[in-house]
Amino acid sequence: MTDTNAAIAPPETFRAAVWAQFRKHKGAMFGLVVLTLLVVFVVIGPMLWVPEKLKVVEALKSKNLGPSLKFPMGTDQLGRDQLARMMAAGKVSLAVGFVAMMIAIFLGTFVGVLAGYFKRLDGILMRLTDMFLALPLIPLLLVMVMLFRDKIARVLGPEMGAFILIVFAIGVTSWMHAARIVRGEVLALKEREYVLASRSIGASPRRVILRHILPNVVSPVMVAATLGVAEAIITESVLSFLGLGFPPDFPTWGRLLYEGLEYMQLYPERVIFPGLAISLTVLSVNYIGDGLRDALDPRIRGR
């Protein structure tokens, strides 16, 4: 008994195994690199690229310029440097996308697991989900922002206040699909024999859910999450466009896109750059999600 334990090779840790499989997924590695570059671009970029302050006259002269050495992405209709605005906008857009997605996924998984696992809660929670699905979201968001913007801004400041409010608003209005998917999955999983085995040991529902149900709903949740990031970024730009999101002088990728829309035929680069940034984010997140899902599944990992 004593020597045998030492003789067995130390187990490969879970994280190492997941990482090894993740690296095999070319798309996921590509996505990870692109997303890292985007994050570096929006976080470190503003420190390296400080556009010179233009006087009003200069700014008026240099409005709507195309890409040049001085303005790599051109300027907008007010003569502001697009590159600097892209960086500032990206920080907000990425943060909103990820945080809102996390809120939505957390809520959706929570509601879905409860509804699927506990029969008593199923009716109530799913009707609540249906109700949220039936709500017209834009008017709801409008009311939420109208009611709470000033109150939150007073406590947290206008930018942080707007951020929290928007992230929260997007989160609580986009968890329903995740909840439905998770509930369906849980309904099937809880009848599996390994859940029965766990119950026959006397495991509490909390343990059963954490140990058996949640790890096995990772795949659909991962898919919902990657789609959620894109959706959150787009929803935020819709809100900003309607004047409900961040203050007008506060750039986000969605807002840059909408501002550029008017000038699209004359200055296509005004739309291309923010559009490209959003697309790249969504694409890389999708690939990362794909790779992560594969890496977390031992049946695929073994290969």
Partner: protein, 356 residues
């Protein structure tokens, strides 16, 4: 194998009395209850310490439900279950939890009974996590010990279930069931999903463990020859009720209940000479729906020896000979011994074919 007799004064480890398990049928928009599926309709039996009780019957007769209700995975509709003297039919989860270690289950489908995202060590260690406060190394020692006991290589501890064959997976399931030193194990068709060669390995492992650890089994199966191999006593179920309960040899040599006779006549015979002469009792019709069982005896719609009384009154399980219980009107009127001999005469030929 034959001399694995119960001790001289066997103690009842499991006592089941009048156990009923009805699953409600709902219909309509309001999900009103319109009826019950009578999966178990008043069954009673005892299991003695150290013995193996085989539970046989065709698909859908309530065998698996029976096993699960006894472990209180379902809350029974009525009846009493006593395990080691403790009544658990009405107990709630808090009361049950400390009792769980003494009763465990081995499942039918080794693929479905192991979480695909847990390693073998985590699966076998799960009961230890729930019920013991072992340190990490103690737990690992115990896991290795269990893997040795069921014949799994220790190097497999960090692998995942999908990397194993069916037989190995079933060994993992057995190791998990053994983790807490149970007294009583419900084997819910543990060999049904396995190849014949692997079936033998698993059954031998179960017998071996029984000898070493003094386990008591409720062995649920529809494989009559396997039950004959492993069981000490056999209960035959039909449509939620026990038709016959008898010691193994007595049941296989001289089945009393017409259903048992028909069931045993379906067992193929390895010797081709005898096989051609084998007389099968072919039952006609289908099993009635457990939601709407016949008024009298559950078997009266298909019984080759049906009488008028069978269609009106449900027969009770009665002890006809010492240790032999039969639920059939054929044996109620006449004296026990005479009746049984007379009843089995017609089938003598076929029964000889079965007994090897």
């Amino acid at each position: 194998m034959l001399d694995r007799d119960a001790p001289a004064t066997p103690r009842k480890l499991v006592e089941v009395k009048g156990l009923k398990m009805y699953f409600p049928i709902t219909a309509g928009v309001l999900r009103r209850k319109v009826g019950d599926v009578k999966a178990l309709d008043g069954i009673s039996f005892d299991i003695f310490e150290g013995e193996t009780l085989g539970l046989v019957g065709e698909s859908g007769c309530g065998k698996s439900t029976c096993g699960r209700v006894i472990l209180r995975l379902y809350a029974p509709t009525a009846g009493s279950i006593r395990i080691d003297g403790t009544e658990i039919a009405e107990a709630d989860n808090q009361t049950l939890r400390p009792l769980r270690p003494s009763m465990q289950m081995v499942f039918q489908d080794p693929q479905a009974s192991l979480n695909p995202r847990m390693t073998v060590a985590a699966i076998i260690g799960e009961p230890l996590d729930e019920h013991t406060q072992l340190s990490k190394t103690e737990k690992l020692d115990r896991i290795y010990e269990l893997m040795d006991a069921v014949g799994l290589n220790r190097n497999f501890a960090n692998r995942y279930p999908h990397e194993f064959s069916g037989g190995q997976r079933q060994r993992i399931g057995i190791a998990r069931a053994l983790a807490l030193n149970p007294k009583f194990i419900v084997c819910d068709e543990p060999i049904a999903a396995l190849d014949v060669s692997i079936q033998a390995q698993v059954v031998n492992l179960l017998e071996d463990l029984q000898d070493r650890l003094g386990l008591t089994y409720l062995f649920i199966s529809h494989d009559l020859s396997m039950v004959r191999h492993i069981a000490d006593r056999v209960a035959v179920m039909y449509l939620g009720r026990i038709a016959e309960l008898a010691p193994r040899d007595a049941l296989y040599d001289r089945p009393l209940h017409p259903y048992t006779q028909a069931l045993l006549s379906a067992v193929p015979e390895p010797d081709p000479g005898i096989e051609t002469d084998r007389k099968r009792i072919i039952l006609t019709g289908d099993v009635p729906s457990p939601a709407n069982p016949p008024k009298g005896c559950n078997f009266c719609t298909r019984c080759p020896r049906v009488m008028d009384v069978c269609r009106d009154i449900k027969p009770d399980l009665a002890e006809i000979e010492p240790g032999r219980f039969v639920a059939c009107h054929l044996y109620e009127t006449t004296a026990a011994a005479a009746g049984s001999t007379g009843a089995s005469e017609d089938y003598e030929r076929n029964q000889q074919g079965v007994s090897l």
